[in-house]
Symmetry: C2
Subunit: 358 residues, 2 copies
């Protein structure tokens, strides 16, 4: 049996980095181009994306600075997570119709060697998009942070900043499932803090736009904090250092507060606490911890099947709106995971959806 | 046989904390008092101190803030390391003449239960004072930092701030003996940086008073730094964060740059590097790591016997000059360990001495 198709040319809309942003990116820093994809070569597949991920770490890759991943090259497509379906195939391992996840990024149609995609099983009641967040890298990031980087124990008090974002909503639920005594989160709107306590298992949620987070956290955590999962940096890291208990652990996952400032910003004024309280601050990115994927996958599948996992998605339709989605995510416009939905057949209005409130 | 003596009363000169310093301590923050020691009770010994230790961490204990050790109480003796000889004894375990080390602190004559002292063996060619630094807590602090907190591997590049101080001179030599590829140190005078390279095995020594340490370190470490041992904090920590290699480890042992500022000081402006380079920052104090004492003792004894260990002492004579010694140490007036020598029979002029240049 040969399930391969006859390959043709096709047009792909892609978003490239046109200039390196200084401070907040603007549309001028990006370029939307249409490229013609040639016929597939042996071993290649062509994939029509369904969902594209926009993530905070991408802002760092737009700078030309040393980091754990190379900067995006000017004039090249923004790469990152996406999920779609094989529409043409010259490789038997990925026949037409297969759902695949990949890192080819901001494009509606992509073709490349089959080895750069991996098949995602389709399961009833599990939206494909979840592989881009709670069941995928985002969930794994939260799990790695709380089990390896800043390992928590049952009975710990845990503080999570950026708690209403993709990683934060995952981290709060995982902290709860791992037996945290108290989970405290911060977010930037009344709606977000409501969701944190009503849907995501947070005991206390602080709206950092209402009062300095430093004051709010000190008042909210009189018993101190054992584990801090940082997605924000800046004033949030400083607030956490004030209240950490002896031998406290801080996992630095993101620092969105500083991503779009043009120059350096002062660090926490209370680093002395790191010494006097014997704190551990560990920065991490996921690449070095993929060995936890199968452990995470097994536990998350169990939690998910048991109905223990909630999620939200903020969905923007249309590849041409990807930059807007990215910028809106950086400004906190999302609840849960920000995604771009690609493909006219699935297009609906812009909006948020997710699992039901429990 | 009964070696106990007949106990009498005696006068003890002690230095107490009179007020909590704000910023740099002044003489007004201390009080020199003479107290009468009553006859020894059963189980007690009386010790005439020979050397008293003045250490940076003591500044922290003068503040009334939460820390790993309780603050000094107002109106009570400043406690800390000292070494002396038993002059009267009501306990058979420590007969008159025994050399003992203890934590009773800033006093010329002290008496307390024998269990609060421990005997130090006298060895030919090994000055007693070394138990207060390179062979004692100071050396152990350096060893813990480089083997447990920011574990170094042979071939690593190591940066040590405050390198000409008691911990720094120990850390540089231990890094060298553990196989560092390069050891870089910082200090605050031309004489100090000369000693670092000539006597203490540093490959490169930077005088932070000549130019910003951030610029000097970046120029001195083009290959990056794997392990940073921090005694200074502030601009030195910031400089280190600039040049750390991926998966670099930072042991925060001290932050003398900030000990005498009246208010908080901005932290490093490059904390983002902690994430992008997956750095580990671990604060520590010795109390939680005393389990490494015997391992350290064995290795250090071997190194010392092999003539591998150099040291310097900056000695101030007279219990009444202890506060001056402490303040001078905080200003960097010492090379190697700052000590106060007590007891007229051993008094000599103020000065520095140590092992010979190798």
């Amino acid at each position: 049996m040969n399930s391969m198709t006859t390959s043709s040319t096709a047009l792909s809309t892609q978003i490239q980095l046109a200039a390196r942003p200084s401070g907040w990116p603007t549309h001028d820093d990006f370029r939307i181009v249409t490229v013609e994809l040639g016929p597939l070569q042996p071993g290649e597949v062509r994939v029509a994306n369904a969902f594209i991920s926009v993530d905070p770490y991408m802002r760092g890759r737009m700078n030309d600075t040393r980091s754990y991943v190379a900067p995006y090259a000017l004039g090249e497509r923004i790469t990152g997570g996406a999920i779609g379906r094989v529409v043409e195939s010259e490789d038997e391992s990925l026949p037409v119709g297969t759902v695949v996840q990949h890192q080819h990024g901001w494009s509606d149609l992509i073709q490349a060697n089959a080895s750069t995609f991996h098949a995602v099983p389709e399961r009833d009641g599990v939206p494909l998009s979840l592989s881009l967040h709670i069941l995928g890298m985002t969930g794994l990031t939260a799990y790695v942070g709380l089990t390896r980087i800043a390992p928590m124990s049952a009975g710990d008090t845990v503080f999570i900043s950026g708690a209403a974002g993709a990683v934060g909503t995952a981290a709060g639920q995982i902290a709860r499932l791992l037996g945290a005594k108290r989970v405290i989160g911060s977010a930037g709107s009344a709606e977000k803090v409501r969701l944190l306590t009503e849907k995501y298992g947070y005991d206390t949620a602080l709206n950092y736009k209402e009062a300095p987070i430093r004051e709010q956290l000190a008042a909210a955590a009189p018993e101190g904090v054992d584990v801090y999962f940082d997605n924000v940096g800046g004033d949030h890291l400083e607030a956490a250092l004030d209240v950490m208990n002896d031998n406290g652990r801080l996992a630095l996952c993101g620092a969105i507060a500083g991503y779009n400032t043009a120059g350096p910003t002062p660090g926490p004024d209370n680093m002395m606490n790191v010494i006097t309280r014997a704190l551990s601050i560990q920065g991490f990115t996921l690449a070095a911890h993929l060995d936890l994927s199968s452990e995470f996958g097994a536990r998350m599948a169990e939690w998910f099947a048991a109905g223990e996992i909630a999620y939200d998605e903020t969905i923007v339709d249309g590849i041409e709106n990807t930059v807007d989605a990215f910028l809106d995510m950086m400004r906190g416009g999302n609840i849960g995971k920000m995604l771009v939905r690609v493909g006219a057949s699935e297009a609906t209005s812009v909006g948020t959806h997710g699992s039901e409130l429990k």
